[in-house]
């Protein structure tokens, strides 16, 4: 293959990623009452409409609290699981590690269906149910990224701390944890995004009156495609990208996720 094709393919790739974002942003500025691209005219009215919309803002609040709670739980459980799995004599170590490290491909609609059956019985179609469901969704990402960051670790570093007088608790707190911090942060970031953007599972475990933001957007797009939907989406996209860039700048999370 002629190598000059490579930059061209790269630009096509960039376009595929960026164009939908530009379309959402563009559509949010239109002066029409329906979503259109390119936008007709320019107005910020749809942003004020979105912010005044109680269903949208309720969804945003729900999404944020569910994501934060589920990530917190996932980080604790997933980090512990990864630490255990990295031990030479862990139960089913090989099998479980490859399970977590392999691309995860249980279709989320299946997961959602199973959860719907169970949670209906247990009266968990509420905030708690959403958190539990999102923990299930995000846990593998945390385990994965912590496992990856542990794999590059020299076990003699922990031994060095131990022989210098550090009890197992201090070894963990002063040495192990700081060393896997990038992996934990990377996992937490991805987990947050996955939780925050999830539709297929959330749609089953929420009620029309209180649904997370992506579910609200999804429903609105079907019934009432006002540009305020695009404005809400644009706000989330911008917030997400900003947070990711800050985290990447501060902690190089991508490198520790994929090295």
């Amino acid at each position: 293959m002629k190598l000059s094709v490579i930059p061209l393919l790269a630009w096509i790739t960039y376009a595929i990623i960026v164009v939908p974002i530009i379309m959402v942003l563009g559509a949010s500025f239109t002066e029409t009452r329906f979503i259109t691209f390119p936008p007709a005219g320019f107005t910020l009215d749809w942003y004020s409409a979105a912010i005044a919309d109680r269903a949208l803002m309720g969804g945003l609040w729900l999404s944020t609290t569910v994501a934060l709670a589920s990530v917190l739980i996932s980080v604790c459980l997933g980090t512990a699981a990864a630490l255990y799995l990295s031990r030479p004599r862990a139960f089913l170590r090989g099998l479980l590690s490859s399970f977590f490290l392999a691309p995860l491909n249980v279709p989320s609609v299946m997961t959602a269906f199973a959860l719907l059956l169970a949670f209906t019985q247990w009266h968990l179609i509420n905030w708690y149910g959403l958190v539990i469901a999102h923990v299930i969704l995000t846990l593998p990402y945390i385990v994965r990224s912590v496992l990856v960051s542990l794999a590059g670790q020299d076990q003699s570093i922990e031994r060095a701390a131990s022989i210098l007088g550090a009890s197992p608790f201090r070894v963990f707190w002063l040495i192990t944890l700081p060393l896997i911090r990038p992996g934990v942060l990377a996992g937490a970031t991805f987990a947050f995004l996955i939780s925050f953007n999830n539709v297929p599972v959330s749609v089953f475990i929420s009620t029309p009156g209180s649904a997370p933001l992506p579910v609200v957007l999804f429903n609105r797009m079907q019934w009432l495609a006002e540009p305020s939907v695009a404005a809400a989406a644009a706000l989330t996209i911008v917030a997400t990208i900003t947070v990711m860039l800050i985290l990447e700048q501060r902690f190089s999370i991508y490198r520790s996720m994929f090295r």
């Binding site: 031994r159 060095a160 210098l164 007088g165 060393l179």
Partner: protein, 359 residues
């Protein structure tokens, strides 16, 4: 050396997955001593250190520190120091904090910590590197921080697991003499693991030669070199030639060993060997002399053979000789005669005292 035993292993054994990795290791390390564990890769040196450090529990036997069995004492309460093969510095801490780590674990006050860290960094000639992170240091500097970090806590015994093996040859030699100087200065008892015989011989007060999970011989470097007790030791330390023979006549000052039709060799009389029994003899490759003349110029040159190869190897030439009884030995000569070329018939042998009788 005060003569007090600081650390002992008593019949320490370890089995991994059915394979015996260490077989009944006995070792007594004296206060202030520099002792090396020398052996090929995989012979169990690191496992021995790990048992001493408490990272690995022996399946049998015990570890004694100052006469007390410490089998049930965890590593963080053994008050030992360790320098690892890959420096194992804490990558997220500066040099200062790396060295201070052990002192902080001992809850010393900041002023004492600062003074002792400065002293330790001074000892390894790294003053002024306090704020650097490990990744900003060269390999030799990293290993020196590792050394300072282990020494600063004034450990009962300092364990060093091939600390110089990742450094290039020149730096390694410089670090060896530095280590020797630090040992003299601090008087710390050191157990040094290496697979490099020269390193072990130059650094140590005593050397334990290990093979396949056992200590084959524990002696001074000179004792190990001059009087190897097993064929493995003779082969691993320095370069030796080996011959099979049969014990013959015993004289007042020597014993004759017949090497088939090639002749005989006189070995020191103190060896306990029975007449008629088969023995293995060894001799340092550079202690064999040869003579290409028609008759032997000295009674020591009592073997006969023919040169089959001659190879130049820098300071010496390697001359391969097939003896009349078809055994082959390699001789290292710094000034081989010009006519010592393949095909030439030679007389060869070595001084009585230089022949070793091996089991």
């Amino acid at each position: 050396m005060s003569g007090a035993t600081t650390l002992s292993l008593r019949k320490a054994s370890k089995v991994y997955a059915g394979a015996t990795i260490l077989q009944s290791i006995d070792l007594d390390v004296q206060e202030g001593e520099f002792i090396s564990l020398l052996g090929p890769s995989g012979c169990g040196k690191t496992t021995t250190l790990n048992i001493i450090a408490g990272f690995v529990r022996p399946d049998e036997g015990e570890v004694l520190i100052g006469g007390q069995c410490v089998n049930d004492v965890p590593p963080y309460q053994r008050n030992l120091g360790m320098v690892f093969q890959g420096h194992a510095l804490f990558p997220h801490l500066t040099c200062f904090d790396n060295v201070a780590f052990g002192l902080r674990m001992r809850n010393l006050d900041e002023a004492t910590i600062r003074a002792r860290v400065a002293q330790a960094l001074d000892l390894v000639r790294l003053n002024g590197f306090d704020e650097r992170f490990p990744r900003q240091l060269s390999g030799g500097q990293q290993q020196r921080v590792g050394l300072a970090r282990a020494l600063v806590i004034e450990p009962r015994v300092l364990l060093l697991d091939e600390p110089l093996s990742n450094l290039d040859a020149k730096l390694r030699r410089a670090m060896q003499s530095e280590l020797r100087a630090i040992h003299t200065k601090t008087g710390t008892t050191m157990i040094y693991v290496t697979h490099d015989q020269e390193e072990a011989l130059t650094l140590s007060d005593r050397v334990a030669v290990m093979n396949a999970g056992r200590i084959e011989q524990l002696d001074t470097p000179e004792g190990i070199y001059r009087h190897p007790r097993t064929r493995f030791v003779a082969d691993f330390i320095g370069s030796s030639a080996f011959l099979r023979g049969e014990v013959g006549e015993k004289r007042s000052d020597s014993i004759l060993v017949r090497i088939g039709e090639a002749g005989y060799v006189a070995v020191p009389h103190y060896h306990q060997i029975a007449q008629g029994s088969a023995v293995h003899l060894g001799i340092r490759s550079d202690q064999i002399r040869i003579d290409t003349g028609a008759t032997a110029s000295s009674p020591e040159l009592s073997l006969q053979g023919r040169i089959v190869d001659r190879a130049f190897a820098g300071s010496v030439s390697h001359i391969t000789i097939e003896l009349t009884d078809r055994q082959t030995i390699v001789v290292h000569l710094s000034n081989p005669p010009d006519d010592a070329i393949p095909g030439a018939a030679v007389h060869l042998g070595g001084a009585v005292a230089n022949w070793m009788v091996l089991p």
